[in-house]
């Protein structure tokens, strides 16, 4: 660290009010003796003041009610909290059943295919013994797996499929571009619904999950972009959307291109 850097750090910390008494004495002495240090101090103070006085806005109206409406009971919340949100290197028949069911929707061979399937019944039930999805209520949540993208494909046009259920009407689109997978969600929620999106990547034979949750009420238009390290051997990316609160009917919709 150069002497100038040390003094500038001292100046910043002084403006932050984070100096020891000894450091404060040192800084004050330098500010009196050196015009450059005094200039740094004034500049740092001005910067701090500019940031601290940026406009503060009110949260959207009804945000509190939407949060409260979507809260599970304490018992459900603690059950959810006890489940792992991320997992790696998981294997097992339940997961394999999912993979196989999705693969079954994909015709073999072409450079790239996307399949969209909303799975219902026993096949869905078996998913919930694993990983981050285990918090969901198997029998009542609607679950969809939205496509699979081979890791070596660099650019694929989006495929769009509808969602209609659980109080949400809209569509999701999946697109693969170089190094990223994008999932777009658009639609309208007729009541507050919780939408869970889980991204599964298989990287070096390790399953890796990312999880997003949106509480939607009204119009929704979002895009989520995930980096997929192709050079790290990413093989596939899958998405699942879960909508809650619950209804008794899961959909069975299949779209493949």
């Amino acid at each position: 660290m150069t002497e100038e850097t040390r003094i500038r750090e001292l100046v910043d910390a002084g403006v932050d009010g984070e100096l020891s008494p000894e450091e404060e004495r040192e800084l004050n002495a330098m500010r009196q003796d050196r015009a450059d240090v005094e200039a740094w101090y004034l500049e740092a103070s001005a910067l701090a003041n500019s940031i601290s006085t940026m406009a503060v806005v009110e949260p959207p109206e009804g945000l509190k009610d939407r949060i409260l409406d979507s809260l599970p009971s304490r018992v459900e919340a603690e059950q959810a909290a006890s489940q792992p949100r991320q997992t790696t290197a998981r294997s097992g028949s339940a997961f394999d059943a999912l993979i196989d069911s999705v693969r079954g929707l994909l015709s073999p061979a072409p450079a790239f295919r996307l399949a969209v399937a909303f799975l219902a019944g026993v096949a869905v039930t078996s998913l919930f013994t694993i990983g981050p999805l285990s918090q969901f209520d198997v029998g009542q949540d609607a679950v969809g797996t939205i496509g699979a993208a081979p890791g070596q494909v660099t650019d694929v046009a989006p495929v769009t499929t509808p969602i209609d259920g659980q109080g949400f009407v809209g569509a999701v689109a999946l697109r693969r571009t170089d190094g990223t997978v994008s999932l777009a969600l658009e639609g309208r929620a007729s009541r507050p619904v919780s939408i869970e999106i889980v991204v599964l990547s298989v990287i070096h034979a390790q399953d890796q999950f990312e999880q997003i949750r949106i509480v939607a009420d009204g119009d929704v238009a979002r895009e989520f972009t995930f980096d997929v390290p192709q050079d790290a051997g990413a093989e596939e990316a899958r998405f699942r959307v879960t909508l809650a609160p619950r209804t008794s009917q899961a959909q069975a919709v299949e779209v493949a291109i």
Partner: protein
Amino acid sequence: MADDLVLVTRCLQGDQRAYGDLIDRYQKPIFNVARRTLKDDRDAEDVTQTVFMKAWEHLADFNPRYKFFSWIYRIAVNESINAAKRRRPVESIDSRVDQPMDRSASRFAENDTDREIQFGLLQLSPEDRALVLLKHFEGFSYADIGYIMDISDKTVKSRLYTARQRLRAVLERERSTTDD
């Protein structure tokens, strides 16, 4: 007005009205830091909702030796940083074009200085942006920031210095461009 710990205790007994009081108390700062980190109101709203949902789920894990505000802020910062790394605004599913940020049209800015600072902040990494916002927008101490960001006080000091140096460089570059 009940203090946070009392409200947390009532929440753990299942009292959602108590949680409503905590939301009243903290939704504004959390929404604002998410908004500044994400540059998108809707994403900030999503993050705010997610933060309070996660906090509700994990309330039993809250350690009362820390301030509730710091604890929920820790969740908020992590959510904001993660969201900033993976989210992009979208106009519609089929008409997505990645656009460079229009710095002149930042709708978060109330005046030129605000616009300039906002533009500069958006040039920082999400982590550095969060550090600067926690210090100057929220007024947290190094110790609080260290807890929220899960780094040492010393690291807070050095990373804040580096982040502000980057911010200064961006602002100087912008000012010289404007002067030209």
